[in-house]
Symmetry: C2
Subunit: 187 residues, 2 copies
């Protein structure tokens, strides 16, 4: 049945997204993913020809997640409120972020070092996020500098995720988002 297949495939993707977030892409074996998804190892290869294809599926998943969230942020109203909604989302995830880091940053770093083209595709996730932020700054009348402002905002967030994860300290996320909120307010 098709419904069965779709179900297994989505279970595999779900497991892959979770496990690679927790342990990294290289350290997550297809056997681990299969086990978590309750699919026999050999069957994985019916849905994904190679591990690289699993990686692509993870990226697609992250992209559609981001799209969904950015639509939610858009509903917050004015550009400043949208950006604040984004920061609020970060704050709500502070504990997970401190425990395991950003799901995107280390994933991109790892894939870039691996070579093989997956890294470039993964970068699309940041590309979209950056584009969304830039649009908000443009709407705030910061057309000249909108790119730089977006880079600064996303950099600050990605960086504090690295530090919070390194020290397992969610308070760093609180500190930095407060500062960024203030900064947005004063722009």
């Amino acid at each position: 049945m098709r419904s069965q297949s779709v179900d297994k495939r989505s279970r595999l993707i779900r497991a892959a997204v979770e496990l690679t977030y927790l342990h990294g892409f290289a350290k997550t074996s297809l056997a681990d993913i299969a086990k978590q998804a309750k699919v026999p190892l050999g069957n994985v290869y019916y849905y994904f020809k190679t591990k690289k294809e699993v990686g692509e599926a993870i990226i697609e998943q992250r992209l559609s997640d981001l799209e969904a969230r950015s639509k939610e942020w858009d509903e917050a109203g004015a550009p400043r409120d949208r950006l604040r909604a984004c920061l609020l989302g970060v704050l709500e995830n502070k504990e997970v972020l401190a425990a395991h880091g950003c799901p995107v940053g280390p994933f991109c770093s790892e894939l870039r070092k691996e070579g093989g083209g997956l890294g470039k595709r993964a970068g699309e996730i940041f590309g979209r996020h950056l584009a969304w932020m830039e649009a908000q700054f443009k709407a705030l009348g910061k057309g000249n500098d909108s790119r730089g402002l977006a880079v600064h905002l996303l950099s600050s967030l990605e960086g504090v995720f690295v530090l919070a994860h390194t020290f397992r300290d969610s308070h760093l996320v609180v500190m930095e988002t407060k500062r960024l909120n203030q900064w947005i307010q004063e722009l």
Copy 2:
């Protein structure tokens, strides 16, 4: 002879630092390191009982590198000039940073996810860097907020390294360091 041993050991560490920076710790095999250092694989285990010990040696190397550089920055004069010296160092490395990312951030992320205690030790590198920055902000009379300022500065840098690496775009490093320089000036 001891001199031979020391020489081989340092060659191995040098190779380990380089290769793990380029390809990540997990993806760098002891065979790769041995080959680059021109030491037979079996002999590696005379100097390091396990790969984990190689990881520790890499961390020690990074720590002493940072110590050396922070002493150079200290010679720039007043606190603001010291911070600018640090940023200037970043700028001088922009091409390498865009090509391969930060040597510390992804390394810490990877080791944290691996578990096993190496990650915590690696975090010491950021700990020292943060402490140095904090000292500069204190000296600028920002005692209240010195921790938050240091976190913001290091986060911004680490984050832009992730973005610059992802997009292989050294210009992002230029943009962000300019902004941070300005920010320091206005504090």
